[in-house]
Homo-oligomer: 190 residues x 6
């Protein structure tokens, strides 16, 4: 059975025509990852949108935070699981496998995080992520109180909320454009 | 009955301590709107996050697009209606009233957009926005085909999708932090 | 954008042909409110149905009760919010603004009552109203016990239940007939 | 296993203290049915509410209409099935069995109306009833057009809508008060 | 109104052509019940599937267990109520009426088990059955802990889980084939 | 992070005490797969239940059918995706990867089958599987008609329905017992 070979159903311009700063990023991705993440290509018809997306992504996922990088990736995958987002589950599932060195953990986050053996702090964060994703109108003080009970500061809650919010954006860009993940993710850290 | 008087449940630092570029923005808001939007204050504990949020917001809502500014605000309100987001319904409901000069249109978008007398193009965009928000995993080629049938180009679909995606982020930042809108919005353009 | 100008999609007869008792009511509405509520016009093809509706409405919303008139209007709006009923949100949202003198309270009830700063008695009543509206089959003794814990008597619970029940009727008459509210409500007490 | 023996969890006053007009109705019910329907007893702490409820019920279910009495009872049961209302399913299930002389039809309406062999007119009415009950905010012109296609006039649609609306009220009074049906219904017309 | 007269929409072969072991079962059913349950006929195009189904059914519903036969039938009906399965509600509703000698209990299980006056053990089992049926992904250790609190052993939980699981299979065979129950069930033990 | 190391939360007896026929199966599994599937161990406290489960499983998944073995595994995974069943997604996801030789196809079935490039026949089967799993009460003649339109015979529809039904059983046994899949599945055919 042939699998989908598009990157985005809204079209992707030839990377030869990209602005220099983006060409440089394309180059770095090739060097470091061996490929350019399809989300970049899918955004590339609108270069400024792409720059904004990358800036927000880098700040949320890579800057200093009370939440570890692995925890942020776990949140990304749980949000994407609630939204059944193929692109993000494949790409960030690979990131969880890689950062944790635990391929099963990646699967659990993608398929049903409740089966994983998590400490109460991580479990509370993922429960909050699920609720904020599926019924944001029901989030109240008592939900934030649960997070504080397991040790999250105001800053940590902010970072958690923004990570959840960002993947609710990102899942929907993928669904709106039918974005396909690079195939390299599938085999990574199995 | 006293109404909520917080801006965010995660705290807001004194604006006196803001970086100069942000202070300048605070000043411009005061001049132009008479107040600083609470979303800026709520984001201000994390200045770089705020900058990224403003950059993305401005590009999506204010740059050139095949979708009019009013249409983008209508989409913002319909997404926020699906997510029952008080902050965004109040702030962007006011924007719909102001840009359209039609206070009832703002109410319709916030309460149930299906009652409005829309042309088929706008109706198709809002149906797509509702579906992408509530069941993103069900969005398929036939949904994009509906948009093309009423005249949207690939670029228009991209802008629509990104607007929907952005307010799914923004609604969740509001719910995660219990962000309250500035009271000025309530009286605007009634 | 022209807004809907119908009252009901099932037609409204000329008020000149109404029975005398109804003509008298039409006159009183004009004197007191400046207009005849569209729900009356929408019901007027069936005069006896209209009389029954008005009798029930008046008894539930205006007679003596342990629930204040404002509280009954708050319940009306929260039920209508769960059902996303445009007519009732507009008409009874205006009533909450007027009775409370607090325009924001009206918005909160319509958009997401959980953001309002309510005392525990009112919050418990509105939570009960939401549950009875959205999942009536799950209402049990422990839900009524919550109401008694915050001071409601059997009579108060009866009045609460009947108010919720009545607006579940009324929201559906509006949806079944596509009833549009009078425009005068929009500007009232902003 | 002992079954529930209450009529309403909010209490029922001694019928000896009822007003004369209600006593007369109690007498007529005893003569005609052999019992007083529990919904009357459950409403009797509030005599005027009871009178209004009976007036509305009689007009909707018993007056002349393009919908037969059986059809109105079928609608009552389908609405109550969507809301999983024990009282109304038992009492109006019995009415469908009695009016149709077809015990299985009563069961089908209560358990899943889609299995019954209905003509397209009745099927369309019940589909409309289900939608108006479960997602009233999605009812639109095209739903009314389906009804007209199978022969319903504006008056018929009004009667259908009001029947659906009324049982959405009545189901919720039953759930709010935990109203139990008279046991006589169970054995009727099996 | 003529009621459906098919057994399965996928066809039923003449019983004359059945293998001898199945013919013997057909005969026993006729002797004992007066009819062959339609589920057997519906399965009979695939004799080995039928044998497997009967073997599993008999073991789960009739072998020794810490759950009484009545309790297993109550679970069957509650699962079928969640899935609104006409066939199983009719057939197993009759079994609850017969085993309990309490026709109302059968109705309560089919229409809304929460209205029945159950002991805490049975109520906990039925709540577990409802949750396992409607949101199996949310079942966790704390749900099993509730069962143990009311006295269920590991074996009892296994039997409960398998009964729930089996009727989730059986309800779907009925829906997939539009299986109709034998009419004899309707009148049994009313 | 240590991952779960239980097989079932209801306990698993020592395989040394198994009946001879089961010991023989354990042996064959070790020889052929290198491990005994945990579902067998989880069922082993009830040997007859296990035999029935294996008999049904083998007949549905391995006997002759108009649906290929791969198609039956695809259906298994899509049902398990709707039910978010970790055990079955891991075990049968591996089977899809192995039978198709296409690791991505396994991921697509588990995460959101709508992204896969399927022929109309397979797509129709999976849509039917999703509907039968999530809203079995809505399955009607027109759903079966869709299957016939793409070439399924009555026998094929039977096999499809039974496969869907079986995994609705199997997913719930996994959730009721918190069954964990063997770790060997994770690495298979990546």
């Amino acid at each position: 059975m042939p699998q989908p070979d598009h990157i985005s159903k809204l079209g992707v311009p030839d990377s030869a025509g990209l602005d220099d700063d983006l060409k440089a990023i394309w180059g770095k991705c090739q060097d470091k990852l061996g490929f350019v993440p399809n989300v970049f290509s899918a955004y590339s018809p609108k270069p400024q949108r792409l720059r904004n997306f990358m800036a927000m992504y880098n700040e949320i996922m890579l800057s200093d935070s009370g939440l570890s990088k692995l925890e942020r990736e776990m949140i990304a995958v749980v949000v994407s699981s609630a939204n059944r987002c193929y692109y993000c589950l494949v790409a960030h599932g690979a990131a969880v496998r890689q950062l944790s060195g635990d391929p099963e953990l990646g699967e659990m986050m993608a398929l049903n995080y409740r089966v994983a053996k998590l400490d109460t702090r991580q479990r509370a964060m993922l429960d909050f992520a699920w609720k904020m994703t599926t019924t944001p109108w029901l989030v109240e003080d008592e939900d934030r109180a649960e997070l504080r009970k397991v040790g999250l500061s105001n800053e940590d809650v902010f970072d958690l909320a923004e990570t959840v919010a960002f993947f609710n954006l990102s899942n929907r860009m993928a669904s709106g454009t039918d974005m396909m993940p690079n195939r390299e993710y599938h085999r990574a850290t199995r």
